[in-house]
Structure formats: structure tokens, C-alpha cells
């Protein structure tokens, strides 16, 4: 008879008050494969850590959102929020599904154009658009939402120089009953600044009034808040038309829709977050109610990011070490840290073993590989006995993690996307040192004896293992 597998002897004091009637947890989920590909195979082929995206799930989420909007509004269009995840492959899937690009910087604008998105299918938001960027946006007929009066003045000058009359919309901050209230973007509605800005555009003689945009916050779990912002923005559109005679071209209700992630401060699991259909229902109903029943509804733009892509991304990681902390807690060190998982600072990310060892399940601290005390992925998560080399999957990490990841202490790993036929494609290769040092310039007088010539760094194969494998 085979001997049982060894696991480190473990002793945990049961704490009265923290126990529940079911006693200690004895079962645990495992995630042994992603879209049909074993986790071990993915890590062996592409390295660890590894970002993995599911194209099948992403397309399904986009379709679900489009359907939800189409059922509730005759002219609704989904816009893909680039900052959430601007990997080319992710953006391409969104654009193939018919989404506009929503960008907030010249860099994102250029990324969209480089992908082949026409200017008139780009929504240009953001609080810091430069003259050069605005000139290009005007020339390419992008959908511009002005953030402040200086931007309007700049656009007027560009219009005069070009002898054109571009269409310019407004970003509007409004009270949708959400706390904290976001009022740093755009012109405030309640104080009258938004109406003043609309008058300036409509009566200034240089610009045509475009759409009205608002963004009420982030990770809003109350669909009714979008109903309130839709009703308020629709009423404001009516007031603008009455005051200036110019009818806004569209309403843009921004983003902030929640994913199934769980906020650190959240009591309930994020799995209970509203569906996109619930947000669409709140928005659609509010806009119909705000209308007079005869005037056609203004075209609607919705900027979705996290809600579409977060659940489509997983980070695979590897256990490097298992240790006991001074206070007796079990801790593991893995090869992925907050350098890759920026969102770990506000979400309780799911950390699941690829293989349930069936061992003693214990609350465990999950540390990353950075030599920094702040590098903690989870303060406490129930995990079985793990050994160095065991794989973990961390999710949902499709939103913001790649775009906010950094070359800090470690280079960034590869990203792969699994297509609907179950084939994995590298969509961002693992970085090499040259990616970090390439932009650097060392003054000649600082050169050290025997220093290797720049550019002498050997590049691994595009699809080769990232590291540590």
C-alpha cells in the first residue's frame, strides 16, 4: 500500500468566536486548467508567472453587454475603455465586436489608430489633452469631450487656424448620489459651470456642440446610481437645447461598472455584483422616463472596461517558498507580486491552487517576490499544504493589472490569450533586460571597465519560457 504524501506537520489553535458551526474548512476549489489547457502545460510552455486571457469569455461578455443595451435603447454603442487593458489583442477583440475606442491620452489614441481604428470611432476623454493631440483629434474627427475651459479655448484656436468648425462635447460632473462624489472631471452641473461651457461652445461661433459625457465613479455596485446620472444628464441635455438652441449629439454615461472582484472592504462576495443587464436596465428606463415620448432619444454611449475584461484574465504563479511567520501564521512566497497585481491593494483576489493536494487547509499569507514588505497579495486565504513548484491561479485580474504592472525588481512576464478553439497565443512576450535598459543612456565618463556593449543582451525566443522554469 502506498504511503500517504508528506505535508509539513501543522498545528493551529482553534479560536472561539471565529469558528463557525461547520468547523474547519475541509474542501477547496482547484483550477487545474484554463479554457481546456492544463495550467501546468501553460506554465511549462510560456513560463511563470503568466497572464492568461480567455477570448471566448471576453467575446461572450461583450456580446452580453451589447445585447443588454440594445434591448433597452435604440441607439446604444459600447465603447472599450482602453486604460483598463490596452493590450492590442484585447482591444482588437473589442473592435471586432463593434466597440468604439475610449481613450484618455495621446498614447492610447495612437494605440487605437495603430490598430486601425478610424478617428471618428475614437472617444477622446481625459483631463490632459495636449495641443498636438487635439489637433490630430480634430483633423481625424474624433469624438472629443472637453474637460475644462482651457481645452475649449485651445479647441477654438485650433478651429480658427484650420478654418474648420469641429464638434466638441463636454464632460459633466453631477450628483448621482454616489459617495465619494467625483467632481474633478469636467464641468460641474449643479454649480452652473456645465451650462456656461455649453453656451460658450454653442454661441462662440468656432465650435459645434457635441455630446454630453459624465463619469460618476468607479466600481459602482448600485445600478440605480446610473439611472440617476442618466436622468440628470438627459434633463441637462434638454436644458442646454432650450437655452442655446443646440441639441447635444449624444449622451455618454461613462464607466465604473463593477466586475465580480471583491473589494477589500466588501462584506459580500463580488460574485453578487450587478450584471451588466441591471446597469443597462437602470440607464434605459431612466432615459425613456426622462423623454417626452415623441422626441427621439439621443444616441447613447457607454464606456465599459473592468466589467467586461476583469473576469477574463487570470495570473498563473508558482510557489517559491513556504514558511512560518513569527506569529505562527503560514506564509507562502510566490513569483508574482504587486508589481503585476496592482489591484491586490484593493481587491481580495481569488488565489486557488492548480492542484488540490488534499492536505490540511489553513489560512495563509500570500507574499510576492519583491524585497518589499508591501508586497502582499492576500493577508489571509485558505490554502492546502503547498510545496515549492506548486502552481496557483489568481483571478480576476483582467482589468488594470497588465496596464498598471511595472518593471520593478522583476521584468514583466508574458501574456497569452486562449482562442475559442483552445489554442494559446502569445499576445505580449516576456520582457528581457533590454526592454528596461534600452531607453537609458550612460554618460561616457561613468562607463565601467569591462562593461558589456549596449545591445549585447541576448534575446530569448519570442515564445520561450519567461523565467524560473
Amino acid at each position: 500500500m502506498a504511503r500517504p504524501a508528506y505535508e509539513k506537520p501543522t498545528l493551529v489553535r482553534n479560536t472561539i468566536g471565529l469558528m463557525n458551526k461547520a468547523g474547519r474548512r475541509a474542501d477547496l476549489d482547484e483550477e487545474s486548467s484554463l479554457d481546456g489547457i492544463p495550467v501546468t502545460k501553460l506554465c511549462a510552455e510560456f513560463g511563470s508567472p503568466l497572464f492568461v486571457f480567455s477570448e471566448r469569455r471576453l467575446r461572450a461578455k461583450i456580446q452580453e453587454a451589447k445585447d443588454a443595451l440594445a434591448r433597452r435603447h435604440p441607439k446604444a454603442t459600447l465603447c472599450w475603455s482602453y486604460k483598463t487593458n490596452y493590450l492590442d489583442a484585447i482591444c482588437a477583440v473589442h473592435h471586432q465586436e463593434g466597440s468604439l475606442a475610449e481613450v484618455v491620452s495621446g498614447m492610447e489614441y495612437e494605440k487605437a489608430r495603430r490598430l486601425g481604428v478610424p478617428g471618428d470611432r475614437i472617444v477622446f476623454n481625459g483631463p490632459a489633452k495636449t495641443r498636438t493631440e487635439l489637433e490630430r483629434a480634430v483633423q481625424e474627427r474624433a469624438i472629443v469631450h472637453a474637460d475644462h475651459m482651457e481645452e475649449i479655448c485651445l479647441l477654438e484656436r485650433i478651429a480658427a487656424e484650420r478654418g474648420e468648425r469641429p464638434t466638441v462635447g463636454l464632460r459633466v460632473s453631477l450628483d448621482a448620489g454616489v459617495h465619494p462624489r467625483w467632481d474633478r472631471f469636467g464641468f460641474n452641473l449643479e454649480s452652473g459651470q456645465a451650462l456656461q461651457a455649453a453656451r460658450r461652445i454653442a454661441r462662440g461661433g468656432r465650435l459645434n456642440l457635441g455630446g454630453l459625457h459624465t463619469h460618476i465613479g468607479t466600481f459602482i455596485t448600485e445600478p440605480a446610481a446610473y439611472g440617476r446620472s442618466a436622468a440628470t444628464l438627459a434633463a441637462f441635455a434638454g436644458a442646454v437645447e432650450k437655452d442655446t438652441g443646440a441639441r447635444p449629439t449624444h449622451l455618454d454615461l461613462g464607466g465604473g461598472y463593477a466586475s465580480t472582484n471583491t473589494l477589500g472592504s466588501q462584506y459580500h462576495s463580488g460574485a453578487l455584483a450587478p450584471t451588466f443587464a441591471e446597469y443597462a436596465e437602470a440607464i434605459g428606463s431612466a432615459l425613456v422616463d426622462a423623454g417626452d415620448g415623441t422626441t427621439p432619444l439621443l444616441p447613447l454611449l457607454v464606456e465599459a472596461g473592468r466589467t467586461l475584461v476583469d473576469d477574463c484574465g487570470t495570473l498563473l504563479a508558482t510557489v517559491l517558498s513556504v514558511k512560518r511567520l513569527g506569529d505562527g501564521r503560514r506564509a507562502i512566497v510566490i513569483d508574482a507580486g504587486v508589481n503585476l497585481l496592482f489591484t491586490a491593494w484593493w481587491y481580495r483576489l481569488n488565489v486557488v491552487p492548480a492542484r488540490n493536494t488534499g492536505g490540511f487547509i489553513e489560512e495563509t499569507v500570500v507574499y510576492g517576490p519583491l524585497c518589499m514588505n508591501i508586497d502582499c497579495i492576500r493577508e489571509s486565504v485558505a490554502l492546502p499544504d503547498l510545496k515549492p513548484g506548486d502552481r496557483l491561479s489568481i483571478s480576476p485580474v483582467g482589468a488594470y493589472c497588465v496596464t498598471q504592472s511595472m518593471q520593478f525588481i522583476h521584468l514583466r512576464p508574458a501574456c497569452v490569450m486562449i482562442d475559442p478553439r483552445g489554442r494559446a497565443h502569445v499576445i505580449r512576450r516576456a520582457e528581457v533586460l533590454e526592454d528596461l535598459t534600452g531607453p537609458e543612456r550612460l554618460p561616457e565618463y561613468l562607463r565601467l571597465e569591462g562593461m558589456r556593449e549596449p545591445g549585447a543582451v541576448r534575446r530569448p525566443a519570442e515564445t520561450g519560457p519567461a523565467r524560473r522554469d
Binding site: 508528506y6 505535508e7 506537520p9 489553535r13 482553534n14 474547519r24 510545496k387
Partner: protein, 92 residues
């Protein structure tokens, strides 16, 4: 005579279930241990020293990593930290 610094009477007083539930009637505290933890407790109650317990684990379990001696020492230290199996007043 115990070959460790644990107290035989304190170890005998522990109520230990087959599933790894441990109750210390002297303090009222209860603990959970895994299979190898049970083996360590059992070895201590039999009067084995820590190297002897480690050898027994090598025999009883399929061991891949040679960290058993350190693991047993860590487990023993954790027992001392909790005051489990030691004379009253000698915890930690």
C-alpha cells in the same frame, strides 16, 4: 522519562481525536493538527525524541523534500509557544 523538554503528564492529559482535533483540558484550548502533526504528537507521547520522530515520519510518509527534521522542530516550537504539552508556566 521524556527525551524532550515536553512534560509527559501534560502530553498524556491531551484529548486527541483521530481526525486531528486536540483538546487541552488544563487550559481549555483546542487545536487542529494534520496527519503528520498527529504523528508528531503521538511520538512525543511515546517518549521519542525529535530526531526519532523525524525518522518515523520518513518511514510513514512519502517524503520528497528533506526538511522533515526542521519541520518537526518548528512544530515542537509551536507547541511550546502555545503552552501545549509543557509544564504550566513554561510556555514559549
Amino acid at each position: 522519562m521524556s527525551r524532550t523538554d515536553f512534560d509527559p503528564s501534560a502530553l498524556r492529559a491531551l484529548a486527541i481525536s483521530e481526525t486531528g482535533f486536540v483538546f487541552d483540558p488544563r487550559t481549555g484550548h483546542s487545536y487542529s493538527v494534520n496527519g503528520t502533526g498527529l504523528a508528531v504528537l503521538s511520538g512525543l507521547r511515546e517518549g521519542l525524541d525529535l530526531p526519532g520522530i523525524a525518522r518515523r515520519l520518513y518511514e510513514q510518509f512519502e517524503v520528497e523534500d528533506a526538511t522533515v527534521e526542521e519541520d518537526v522542530a518548528l512544530f515542537a516550537q509551536r507547541m511550546r509557544d502555545f503552552g501545549l504539552g509543557v509544564r504550566p508556566g513554561t510556555a514559549g
